[in-house]
């Protein structure tokens, strides 16, 4: 990529081994392991206080981990200060130096490396082209819009060819439209450079859109690690299932695991027993279990369908949300309503199933996900 070979250290593997961190009595991060393959964009996703920022700060070297080690490209950097780790980082509030021009901001890392002024000029120009903001060298950060400042912050963090790029809620301060544009932009730049990237976010949509891999965090633990579709379609825990969008949770009794990839779950609502089917989940023992079903996976019909997983209910509420109808359906004997999202298609904005009408709810076997609590 760069002609300057000794600073070219892109696409390295990042490994966390048994990293943990406490602040006084508060456990910010339980001992955790993580391997991020070279060139992968991995998100740390979770609510505030889940330990995602602490994890990032440990990688950056701003916090010393209590236990464990951080390896970048196989080299142990646990004891190195932040300025010796060869990382790039973008902060939520951009954190551009207000007393320097854009050019000086972007050049900061190169000046620290004592690059020649000629090299600096060339690299700064390259970076501003990469973030599609050529010609702003002489301006000051406060003369740029939020989105532009974010691009400059990205350019500044990439100019030294860091081995790993750290993004701390980089799009959090932007408004919704700009955020979506910047998501594509960020992904394009990350793909172009092929740089190993860690993204911290509390926005599940952002994590699912941008990442190759998602780590869902809660209470200082890595709850689940997987591709966006893995964590969305097959959440392993109740937390993951609820944090990533709306989920209907059904409690029931699950049958013993069998050789075939099939489990039967008995739901008891009042007097009525319903048996539904779900995929194997061999690690879950027989007994009480929770099943999660996404609202958009449930199909509503007026007549009893010819399928296995069927519940009967009455429409209690309806809202039209632009691209879909959201129904709230009560099932006799069950306290919580079940939510169903029905694609609007070319139909009108009126509910197909008016409030008060009886409906049947069905879903495919593979869409019931057995959760580990």
């Amino acid at each position: 990529m760069s002609s300057n070979n000794n600073t070219d250290r892109q696409s390295l593997e990042l490994v966390l081994r048994g990293i943990s961190k406490r602040f006084g009595d508060v456990v910010a991060l339980e001992p955790s392991d993580l391997v991020v393959k070279p060139g992968v964009l991995l998100s740390l996703l979770g609510p505030s206080g889940c330990g995602k920022t602490t994890t990032l700060r440990v990688i950056a070297g701003f916090e010393a981990a209590d236990t464990g080690s951080v390896l970048i490209g196989g080299k142990d950097v646990t004891l190195l200060p932040p300025n010796k780790r060869g990382l790039g980082m973008v902060f939520q509030n951009y954190s551009l130096f207000p007393h320097m021009t854009v050019a000086d901001n972007v050049a900061f890392g190169l000046r620290m490396e004592k690059a020649s002024e000629q090299e600096i000029k060339r690299r700064v120009g390259e970076m501003l082209d990469l973030v599609q903001l050529p010609g702003v060298e002489k301006r000051f950060p406060n003369q740029l819009s939020g989105g532009q400042q974010q691009r400059i912050a990205l350019a500044r963090s990439l100019v030294t060819n860091p081995s790993v790029l750290l993004l701390d809620e980089p799009l959090g301060a932007l408004d919704k439209n700009l955020r979506e544009t910047m998501q594509f932009e960020l992904r394009r730049i990350q793909n172009t450079l092929g740089i190993t990237t860690i993204l911290v976010t509390h926005d599940q949509e952002e994590a699912l859109t941008l990442s190759d891999q998602v780590v869902v965090m809660d209470q200082g633990r890595f709850q689940q690690i997987g591709t966006p579709s893995e964590v969305y379609e097959s959440p392993e825990t109740r937390f993951v299932s609820e944090f990533l969008g709306t989920s209907n949770l059904l409690s029931g009794d699950i049958s013993a695991p069998t050789d075939s990839d099939d489990r039967k779950v008995t739901l008891q609502y009042g007097e009525v027993k319903t048996v539904i089917e779900s995929p194997g989940a061999p690690s879950i023992p027989a007994g009480p279990a929770t099943i999660a079903i996404r609202p958009e996976k449930i199909v509503l019909s007026k007549r009893s369908p010819e399928m296995r997983n069927v519940l009967q209910g009455i429409v209690k509420g309806h809202v039209f949300r632009g691209s879909y109808h959201a129904y709230e359906i009560s099932v006799a004997g069950r306290d919580d309503p079940i939510f169903v999202y029905d694609q609007a298609g070319e139909r009108s904005t009126d509910a197909v199933h008016p409030i008060g009408s009886g409906v049947y709810l069905t879903w495919k076997r593979e869409n019931s996900v057995v959760l580990r609590d």
Partner: protein, 290 residues
Amino acid sequence: MTDQVRRGTSRGFSGVVSPWWIAVTALFLVVFFVIPIINNLLNTDQLVTLAKQRPASFYYEKLFTDPYYLGIVADTVTLSVGVTVICIIIGYPVALFLVRHAGRWSGLVIFLLIAPLLTSIIMRTFGWRVLFARRGLLNDFLLWIDAIEKPILFLNGPTSAVIGLVHVLVPFMVLSIASVLRSIDLQLEESARILGASRFKTFLKVTFPLSLDGIGTGFIIVFLLANGSFVTLLLLGGGELKTLPLLIYQQFTISRDFQFAAAMSNVLLAIAVGCLYLQLRLIKRKGVKG
């Protein structure tokens, strides 16, 4: 709440707050401060003195052409700048410690800084006289460790005056630098660190330049206070060191040349107003920047 107060004001006497409430204060200031200053500015030559009547320009000419008086104006400014620079050198590390490292002790540090301001300036200055006296604590100590053979005369010279002034004025410098340091986003320093800057480089390239506004404000406050200081210089300088305030005092009490004193006080006032104008410019520039 604010709306209610505003409406109350427009309705007159039923309002809780009325602009008329400041009338007493305003009247007091006009009678005892504004009018005398204007009078002083306009009528330097009409003050009744024992000396011969001369036009105002004579006294300004004397002040700015006579090498003796010009020297005193220069000495005053030099002393103030010197004291201010020493205050920056001593105050900056204290401010940095207060903001970055004092943590839960920062309350105590601020108390220690402000506490001396609560005692009279005369008391504090007399304290230095006791320490610096010919047979005072400092000389006794130096004699005891055999650093010197006979007592040094610290008092009644520029050294003791400068030490006294720095002691009195350094809290102002610390507080104005600390308030700006506190407003610097720590993430800016972290950004510099991750970009490869050592702690020292980070301070040099990021923290220090961003705190220049605080140094500027502190500079003007301390410079003005040093410029107008009188008691400390009278008690510690002992007549060796002459500045404009001391000279004004002398003109009043010894020479009885009220007109010359008035001219000098106008020059001192002009310096102060000039400095305040600079400070205003500094704040305005900051406002535009932010």
